[in-house]
């Protein structure tokens, strides 16, 4: 299902969370990068039909999300993993998924059971199926979360910061799992971790202060920092001017890498930027604009 958003605004009292956002997502796995407070969660809640927009139009698979029927049509084909998915501690993974499946309208008991079995297998929880959820680790909970999102074979899967708080191994495992489900459906992955998007998505949007500041191939983000990324070896405090992206202490001094529109120091040499530096450049350009 494709997503078409134009002029989307959402305010909470005086706070403007989404400020005239435009975005088109064709399908496949799509990243949504942004720092904390950029408005990612608010956007995902609008897409999931939880929050009505203050203004603007949102179409998912051709359905207008501002109407009741449109919202319901989208919700029938949606899988959603909220940023903080709470689970009922007294239920087992199997019971929780059965409950969500019923609320999704999967009324055929045998078919539902079969699907739950397959999903638990896919996320690697078969051994823990009868255990109560209270004993699950963060990574296991997230896997229950993605399993429930996939119940009913949704055409659109929206996952909000699913890798936050996971250890590196779990993180890699989880994002690989996400990429593996993207065939034939739209998966929207929100995160503040550049690497998550770089490893799984071809295209991404970058959000800042309620707007989309970049939309396109992940690789193009690097270009934003070309010619403005510098390396400098110094002894004292970090050079003023520009954003220091890394500082590594070696025997000859501290190696700084920084993003700055002008040469920050006569000794600074231009270097090939990384994705993270491209992201920093993007964020920085947004601030000064």
């Amino acid at each position: 299902m494709d997503i078409q958003i134009t002029g989307l605004r959402r305010t909470f009292g005086k706070v403007t969370a989404l400020d005239g956002l435009d975005l088109a997502v064709p399908g496949g796995m799509y990243g949504l990068l942004g720092t904390n407070g950029a408005g990612k969660t608010t956007l995902m809640r609008v897409l999931a039909g939880v929050l009505p927009p203050t203004a603007g139009t949102v179409r998912v698979g051709g359905h207008d999300l501002t109407t009741r029927t449109g919202r319901l049509a989208v919700q029938r084909r949606l899988g959603y993993l909220p940023q903080d998915l709470g689970l009922y501690p007294d239920l087992s993974a199997q019971e929780f998924l059965d409950y969500v499946g019923l609320l999704k309208g999967l009324d055929d008991t045998a078919a539902r059971r079969r699907q739950i079995g397959e999903l638990l297998d896919m996320v690697g929880l078969t051994d823990a199926v009868g255990r109560k959820l209270r004993g699950f680790s963060g990574g296991m909970r997230r896997r229950v979360g993605i399993a429930q999102a996939l119940l009913g074979d949704p055409a659109l899967v929206v996952v909000d910061e699913p890798t936050a708080g996971l250890d590196p191994e779990e993180r890699i495992r989880f994002r690989t799992l996400l990429a593996s489900i993207a065939a034939g459906r739209t998966v929207l992955l929100s995160t503040h971790i550049v690497e998550d998007v770089a490893q799984t998505c071809r295209d991404t949007a970058v959000m800042a202060r309620g707007r989309v500041v970049f939309n396109g191939p992940v690789a193009d983000i690097v270009q934003r920092a070309e010619g403005i990324t510098w390396e400098l070896v110094g002894q004292g405090p970090p050079p003023a001017g520009g954003v220091v992206v890394s500082a590594v202490s070696r025997s000859d001094g501290t190696h700084y890498r920084l993003v700055s529109p002008t040469r920050p120091d006569p000794r600074a040499v231009p270097v090939q930027p990384s994705l993270e530096e491209g992201y920093v450049a993007l964020m920085h350009a947004g601030t000064s604009a």
Partner: protein, 228 residues
């Protein structure tokens, strides 16, 4: 029945919350036993038993209703599912109400069979507990929906309950308050306006509950961070 499995899940999921009316009943029995041990006369014992039905079970149902609407770790997810969340809340409240009702009916019947019943004629017995239960639950739901705070809602319910117990005489003698006197059966008996009192409590209780459910239809009310 298509939705039978969902009802089963709600019953299972409710856990301890669903047991609170049973806890109220147990407390009533313990209180009565203690009073009997101290040589309390039979009419007083009968009144304590009736208090369990008219005051304690409704109080516990009100408190449990606050938990149902205020605490749900999976709320955001459920707001995205095709089943409306208010339908789910309604189902959970119905489970709570059903358990309270079943318990109250069984308790009334046991009292009547044992010759301990000291209330209105048995056809009217359900109104002894149903009217205050609906009213306290309606109040609990409304405050919980308005304030989104468990502490605020439970405190309000407890304060109203205690206020009506402590100032029972004022409620009994003030014409404006008398229709909303929750404990008329246990504190006064069954006067001629008992029916009117029960009717007033039932309708206003239903109104409070309806208002609360209308408020709960607005998802923004449910999504902001919960206070404890």
């Amino acid at each position: 029945m298509k939705h039978l499995p969902l009802w089963r899940h709600e019953l299972r999921r409710a856990g301890w919350t669903a047991c609170s009316p049973a806890a109220a009943l147990a407390a009533t029995l313990a209180l009565t036993a203690a009073a009997a041990a101290f040589g309390t006369a039979r009419p007083q014992l009968e009144r304590i038993l009736l208090t369990g039905l008219e005051a304690l079970i409704p109080l516990s149902a009100g408190m449990a209703a606050v938990a149902v609407v205020s605490r749900d770790p999976s709320r955001e997810l459920q707001l995205t599912l095709p089943t409306p969340y208010t339908t789910t809340l309604g189902r959970r409240l119905a489970v709570l109400g059903g358990l309270s009702a079943a318990l109250s009916i069984a308790f009334s019947a046991a009292l009547a069979l044992g010759g301990w019943w000291n209330g209105p004629g048995l056809p009217y017995a359900p109104l002894v507990w149903a009217a205050p239960l609906l009213w306290l639950t309606g109040l609990a739901l409304l405050v919980a929906a308005l304030g989104r705070s468990v502490v605020l809602a439970t405190t309000t319910v407890a304060a109203v309950w205690l206020g009506e117990q402590l100032f029972a005489t004022s409620f009994a003698t003030t014409p404006g308050l008398r229709p909303f006197f929750l404990f008329m059966t246990t504190r006064i008996g069954v006067p001629t306006d008992w029916d009117a009192n029960r009717a007033a409590l039932t309708t206003s209780g239903a109104l409070l509950a309806a208002l609360a459910l209308i408020l709960l239809r607005r998802p923004e009310r449910l999504l902001t961070e919960e206070e404890t």
